[in-house]
């Protein structure tokens, strides 16, 4: 073992495009991200360094059009049977360099998946929105405006709450939806996005999934106000802020699919988000391995290289083992997603898929948080240094553990599936 590529992944799961895309992406990352990433933290507000990197990745390299059908100039990945695995590869490679960049890119796809992935394709909305992403050489972002001030991640808890706690309302007035509400923390908010996917309710307090609506709102629509980006512990390449919708009017056909199907299509996003989260973390851990390998080979304890001390070897051996296991699990989670339309697969909205993928995300999150912390301790007095990159990943992966309902919602979804819990 000499290279992070040697960490295990089930080879029969690898998509046919993996090798080519991974090579192109890695070359881009080595040239455009790695040399600058240590300065990203101070660039959190302006994105003077980060924006040009995104332009090259999403616009020039063309990743932002990758999901769209070829008739729009896209690459058609959303209709392939390996979208999860390709997304995993993309998020893992980017996560190795900077998980903030990885999440900003992945979340641009997130609201669009609601209308891109069979059986929930909306051609009219694709005609409307695809050109925005497929014709620009500049980065174009989208966001899922989910979290609300009063409920935190309740909105991701669709299995139990079915949208009951959503306060953002959508009222049909003639041939327009009128949207009112306040969202906070979406990735790619803070003034970045051109398009929002907005989960809202047509009847506040309802537990009928027919009252859940997923409506697209252009960021420049009248009545949309965005706050500036929050200052955070890490993830500088991912801007987050408040969004207010004040009597925002959009055409009635900007609703994704209609009663019932909106909730189903939206619920699919949970699994996409969890698989991407796992990929961010295994990518970051691949970089942990690279940096830790250098430290334990060049620095000593008892005048011997750290890696040659049995006690230290016990620690780094466990870290490597965790990375290996997490990567296998990550690919398993991606494959679970890609089996969704197969005779032997399950729909993404099934309790089994949601529960099992959440389990993997919870497990990998815990391992990532612990292993980055442990790696910092191995570096000792150098552990907190930006120069060694590990502290940056340590800061970044913590929010991956916390988002989308965090550890506790993962545990609840798992308990619901495995123990038939009905009230939690």
């Amino acid at each position: 073992m000499k290279h992070f590529d040697d960490f295990s992944r089930p080879l029969e799961y690898i998509s046919p495009l993996d090798k080519h895309f991974r090579a192109v992406l890695r070359k881009y990352i080595e040239q455009e991200v790695m040399p600058y990433r240590r300065k990203y933290d101070e660039d959190w507000k302006e994105h003077k360094l980060i924006e040009p990197a995104f332009d090259k990745l999403m616009g020039e390299l063309g990743l932002q059009k990758s999901l769209f059908p070829q008739k729009y100039g896209g690459w058609g990945l959303a209709s392939s049977d390996y979208i999860f695995r390709m997304a995993y590869m993309l998020c893992e490679e980017l996560g190795r360099a900077d998980t903030g960049m990885a999440v900003a890119l992945a979340v641009t796809f997130w609201p669009l998946l609601v209308i891109l992935v069979e059986p929930y394709v909306n051609e009219r909305l694709l005609d409307e929105f695809a050109p925005m992403f497929c014709t620009s050489k500049k980065a174009v972002f989208a966001a899922n405006a989910m979290t609300e001030p009063q409920g935190g991640s309740d909105i991701e808890n669709m299995g139990l709450l079915k949208g009951r706690t959503i306060h953002t309302t959508a009222r049909l007035d003639g041939d327009e939806w009128v949207i009112n509400g306040h969202k906070l923390w979406p990735t790619n908010s803070g003034g970045v996005s051109k398009l929002f996917g907005v989960p809202c309710t047509t009847r506040p307090g309802s537990t009928d999934i027919n009252d859940f609506a997923f409506i697209y709102v252009p960021a420049d629509a009248k009545g949309v106000t965005q706050g500036g980006p929050y200052e955070k512990a890490g993830m500088a390449a991912d801007k987050n802020g408040d969004i207010w919708f004040d009597n925002v009017r959009v055409p009635s056909w900007y609703r994704a699919h209609g009663p019932g199907r909106d909730a189903e299509a939206f619920y699919q996003l949970i699994s996409f988000g969890q698989v991407a989260s796992v990929a961010f973390m295994t990518g970051a851990m691949a970089n942990l391995y690279e940096r830790l390998y250098e430290f334990v080979s060049t620095r000593t304890f008892g005048n011997r290289p750290l890696k040659e001390n049995d006690a230290v070897a016990g620690i780094i051996g466990r870290i490597a083992g965790d990375i290996d296991i997490c990567r296998i699990l990550g690919h398993e989670a991606a494959m679970m997603g890609d089996r969704r339309n197969k005779p032997y697969g399950l729909p993404l909205i099934s309790e089994e898929v949601v529960g099992k993928i959440r389990n993997i995300k919870d497990f990998v999150s815990d391992r990532a948080v612990e292993n980055f912390g442990k790696a910092m301790d191995i570096l000792g007095c150098y552990g907190a240094d930006r120069e060694w990159d590990i502290e940056k990943h340590w800061r970044d992966v913590k929010i991956v553990q916390l988002w989308m309902g965090g550890k506790q919602l993962c545990q609840m979804e798992s308990a619901r599936y495995f123990f038939n819990c009905e009230t939690i």
């Binding site: 309740d154 005048n303 948080v369 000792g380 929010i399 916390l402 965090g406």
Partner: protein
């Protein structure tokens, strides 16, 4: 209930002075730091220095450990370990950087050899004058740590000593390249450096920050303790008086022991303020549209973990302070035993506070990650202290120290 009623320790007799100092620091922290954190968001380093002056000079914490007969409060004796711990918990509650600077200051004075007349009456006088100054003086301590592959160094319990001291013509000369202080290397007015002598024996060298031959690197960007900017230092045969070198057996162990206690207190203080933030959060946010977070059984179990980690750390650290007070008396508590216990408790304390914050952040979600709530700052600061105290190789050095003491291991 407040943190005093919640985080209890076995009774001990505290004199009025120790109570009033801890109360004063608590009031200062609440009024000047905790209530104004959002205002401090901009230009924090400059404001930090200003507030540190309040704490160190106006309240007088800079000369707390200076012997009474040399103009200080006289809290340099082992009996005062608990009192210093209380002060550092309060300082850490405000900002770990305050606490780390004070902990390094107190560790120097509490180091037994500096108080002994035969070992350095002159040194204790210089230290006392330095820290009784009307100016803010930041100390910086350089401990042994990782060595470089291919180079053999003198060792302190397997940790590499990267600085050397030699004597010539009645003076001593300190040499070392790219040494890493625990903190504050960029602005330190006094360095305490663990050095090896010609026989590879460890000792402590005290070097004035303005001594000729010291070169400091630029500021090091780190994840936490950002207010006491660190830098690497290189000393090119820096001349110091010979009496500013302590080479008595146990001096380095003593320094480690004090740091284990005092930095444990700093992290615990940060953890207690995190507890207060979490208390506020869980008592005001709802889950599933109805119940308060703290009333949800799963969230409550996480909160219990947070409370358990912090309260047991509080007990352990006060136990350690009690052991230090005993160490002056005759009995089994020799310096090696104290070093071992301080290492174990210090390491466990840092890990426990870190676990508490990590778990608590799970309930705060994104808010815990936003600078606005300040929880993330405690998380970064404590992690930085924890990694620093590891020195190198995670908990391995402390485990080896422990195994040596309890099982007489001689090769590890």
């Amino acid at each position: 209930m407040g943190i005093d009623e919640l985080f209890i320790v076995p009774g001990r007799s505290r004199d009025d002075e120790s109570k009033s100092v801890a109360t004063l620091v608590r009031q200062w922290a609440d009024r000047e730091i905790i209530a104004k954190r959002l205002e401090y968001h901009q230009g924090y380093p400059a404001l930090f220095r200003e507030k540190m002056k309040d704490l160190a000079l106006s309240i007088g914490l800079q000369r707390m450990a200076v012997p009474a007969d040399l103009g200080g409060f006289g809290w340099n004796t082992p009996e005062r370990a608990s009192d210093l711990l209380d002060v550092l918990i309060e300082a850490g509650r405000a900002d770990a950087s305050f606490g780390v600077l004070l902990a390094m200051n107190y560790a120097l004075f509490s180091s037994a050899p500096v108080s002994g007349p035969s070992d350095g009456g002159s040194l204790i006088k210089v230290l006392s004058e330095t820290f009784s100054s009307d100016e803010l003086v930041m100390p910086a301590i350089v401990l042994p740590g990782p060595g470089h592959a291919g180079q053999t160094t003198a060792l302190f319990k397997s940790r590499s000593i990267l600085a050397r001291v030699r004597s010539a013509g009645g003076d001593s000369f300190v040499h070392g390249s790219r040494l890493r202080p625990l903190a504050a290397g960029h602005d330190a007015g006094l360095f305490c450096i663990v050095c090896a002598d010609g026989n590879d024996q460890p000792g402590l060298a005290f070097v004035a920050g303005d001594a000729g031959g010291i070169v400091r690197s630029g500021p090091i960007v780190t994840t936490g303790l950002n207010a006491c900017t660190n830098a690497e230092i290189t000393l090119d045969d820096v001349k110091i008086p010979s009496e500013h070198v302590i080479d008595s057996p146990g001096a380095v162990e003593s320094l480690y022991s004090r740091l284990g206690l005092l930095l444990g207190g700093v992290s615990l203080g940060a953890g207690l303020n995190f507890f207060e933030i979490l208390q506020n959060w869980c008592g005001s946010r709802v889950i599933k549209g109805s119940s308060l977070l703290k009333e949800n059984p799963l969230c409550a179990s996480v909160l219990a973990d947070v409370a358990e980690e912090l309260s047991l750390t509080n007990l352990l650290l006060h136990d350690l302070a009690g052991l230090m007070a005993q160490s002056q008396q005759s009995g089994p508590m020799d310096e090696t035993a104290l070093f071992t216990y301080a290492g174990m408790i210090g390491s466990r304390s840092q890990q426990a506070v870190m676990r508490a914050i990590n778990r608590g952040l799970e309930l705060m979600g994104s808010a815990g990650y936003a600078k606005e709530w300040h929880a993330e700052k405690h998380w970064r600061d404590v992690k930085t202290i924890q990694s620093l105290m590891c020195g190198v190789a995670a908990e391995t050095p402390v485990k080896m120290d422990t195994a040596r003491f309890f099982f007489s291991c001689s090769q590890v």
